[in-house]
């Protein structure tokens, strides 16, 4: 068996194993010098990105990929002597998983490139890069796993490494305070999820998502399932920063270094993935998806509106952007919520699927432009040394590239063509309008308010007389921002590339829980 075959057969496992081993080797390799360690970290991140792309390719070509740990062959989900139960830990990669894995590894790679320069000269960088890789592991694991307990473990890896990274720049204790808050909130949330998993395990005697969904469908939706579903849905909504559980978001995003804010933003979208996976695949067949969908829609509306109005009050650039990510999460919840509310009815094919595609496309777009905006905020703080908008001004005189990148990100988030935000927002408006016109009205108003807020930031940070005699940021930071800007423009002009290969397979995979379950429980390939 050649190396290439080995990689293709074991791609889902390698996508976790490579960054995980890479993370623990980083402190060791750092002893050989910073440069060696950086080459190591970036090549590990690059290889993870390659594996995620490979997974997207495999899923698009051959359908859902099932990887069984310890199975022989590794696609044998149900061994003949197990009595029809998937007893091993199984990774199930469908379109949505591959999509989330791809955005997670991409933001990891971009943040890695960015932190080459932005963290230069700080202490404990070996641990910083190890934690950065672990955060990638957490996100990828949540996306790829098909096992509930495994999901909990990766959620905890995600939360712990994110909390440690938030506190990385101690900032007079403020960053540690934010990290404490974040860690307590995510740990209690993860424990509630574990409690719900235990309820489901006690009831259905299985931890595999497909098996639980199948048995729940056979026995009907019980009161205990209701409790488990409520615990899981509320906790994951909190982890993705939806109003009214958004209180940790501004502190956590605001105090983290710029590239880490971008990564935590994607980490909360991994929780959003978890939310969608639970709603559609695990509970989708048995629960009342109509009311569950409306629950997501209402969360989405609240997040959009409260997020953007709170953002107006902020004078700290990072906190302002953090409130905007609450607001952007609302769009995704709205789009996918409309899909969930109409699941199984004729309306689903009329506009529900289109709304889901819009919501999922928005996840990709938000990763690109929100990541870019957090990186530009990090670049400003790197040069100016303050995050207070009232103390900034005139930065466009010297930081020309950062100003251009900021403008691209700001116009994209406001949904101005030819940038990518326009496409996904238009898709959401067009489809949610048919469920209830009010939804589209709120979404459009929030979009205008977003534009106003970001123009205010542009004006106070970049325009005006020259206040600071600063240079442009170092090359590696510019490269990282340039990569994201390139894709923003690319997906804005040619949205079909992303639609065909990433978004449509993800939406179709989520909307088809039966296909997911039969692929896992139908035995080996």
């Amino acid at each position: 068996m050649s190396v290439w075959d080995f990689i293709i057969t074991n791609a889902p496992a390698l996508a976790i194993a490579v960054p995980l081993l890479g993370a623990f080797l980083t402190p060791l390799i750092y002893r050989a010098g910073r440069k060696t360690a950086l080459i190591w970290v970036l090549s590990v991140l690059g290889f993870t990105e390659f594996l995620a792309l490979l997974l997207v390719y495999l899923v698009n070509t051959y359908g859902i990929q099932v990887y069984v740990f310890g199975g022989n062959p590794s696609t044998l989900a149900i061994p003949p002597d197990s009595g029809g139960i998937p007893i091993r830990i199984i990774f199930t990669v469908d379109g949505m998983s591959a999509f989330t894995a791809l955005i997670s590894s991409t933001i990891g790679l971009v943040a890695g490139i960015y932190s080459v320069a932005s963290e230069k000269g700080r202490g404990a960088q070996d641990k910083f890069f190890a934690l950065l890789l672990l955060l990638v592991v957490g996100m990828m694991g949540m996306a790829l796993t098909g096992d509930l307990f495994n999901f909990f473990v990766f959620l905890e890896i995600n939360s712990l490494s994110a909390a440690a990274l938030v506190s990385y720049r101690i900032h007079g204790g403020k960053a540690v305070e934010a990290a404490f808050k974040y860690a307590v909130v995510s740990s209690i949330g993860a424990l509630m999820i574990l409690f719900a998993i235990a309820i489901l395990y006690g009831e259905y005697d299985a931890l595999n998502m497909a098996m639980i969904a199948e048995r729940m469908y056979q026995t009907g939706f019980s009161a205990m399932d209701m409790i488990a579903m409520a615990l899981i849905v509320v906790t994951l909504a909190m982890k993705c920063g939806a109003v009214p559980m958004h209180y940790w978001v501004p502190d956590g995003y605001g105090e983290a270094p710029g590239e880490i804010s971008a990564m935590i933003m994607v980490a909360s979208q991994a929780s959003l993935y978890g939310l969608f996976r639970m709603c559609f695949t695990v509970f989708g067949l048995s629960a009342n998806t109509h009311s569950l969908g409306w629950f997501l829609i209402i969360l989405g509306l609240l997040s959009m509106f409260i997020g953007v109005t709170m953002a107006f009050l902020q004078h700290d650039i990072k906190r302002l952007m953090a409130y905007h990510s609450v607001s952007q999460t609302g769009y995704m919840l709205l789009g996918v919520g409309v899909g969930l509310a109409t699941l199984g009815t004729s309306a689903f094919n009329q506009y529900g699927l289109f709304a889901m595609e819009g919501g999922i496309f928005h996840i990709l777009n938000n990763m690109l432009y929100k990541g870019l905006l957090f990186l530009t905020a990090g670049a400003i703080i790197y040069r100016v040394g303050t995050s207070d908008l009232n103390k900034m001004g005139g930065l466009a005189h010297t930081m020309k590239f950062t100003a251009i990148f900021y403008l691209i990100g700001a116009l994209a988030i406001a949904g101005i063509p030819p940038f990518n935000g326009f496409v996904s927002k238009l898709m959401i408006y067009e489809s949610v309008y048919q469920l209830n016109p009010f939804l589209a009205v709120v979404a459009a108003i929030v979009s205008m308010l977003t534009l106003a807020s970001f123009l205010k930031v542009f004006h106070s940070a970049f325009m005006g007389p020259k206040l600071y005699n600063v240079k442009e940021v170092p090359k590696s930071m510019l490269i990282a921002m340039g990569i994201l800007s390139f894709f923003i423009v690319l997906f804005g002009i040619f949205p079909n590339i992303a639609m065909t290969y990433l978004v449509a397979p993800a939406a179709h995979a989520l909307a088809d829980p039966v296909g997911y379950i039969t692929r896992v429980l139908g035995g080996g390939a």
């Binding site: 101690i170 404490f180 860690a183 574990l194 235990a198 006690g202 502190d251």
Partner: protein, 114 residues
Amino acid sequence: MIFNAPFISVMILIIFGLYAMVFRRNLIKVVIGLDIVESAVNLFIVSLGYVKNGIAPIYTNSPGGAMVLPTPQALTLTSIVIGVATSAMLLSFCILIYRYYGTLDTRKVRRLRE
């Protein structure tokens, strides 16, 4: 009724832990509250797998008869390890907060709001 005793104590422990997390003013006590909730969840998982008069699920020299379910024990073990990592990290945050703020009182640890 008596067989529900573990589940009742799980609920009581969770309520105690949440009470400590919400109403106690010392950050260390918040961490303790979190640990109590974690122990409650672990107790819940272990009691799910209990079989009456069962023996430990170890195959060597097994005397026969019913065995306790091993999967919940494996899950609990993992959960305990994760809990240790969480507590260690939270307590080290407490140390850093005390070093910079000189207090662990939740009413005074709120510089982010300023």
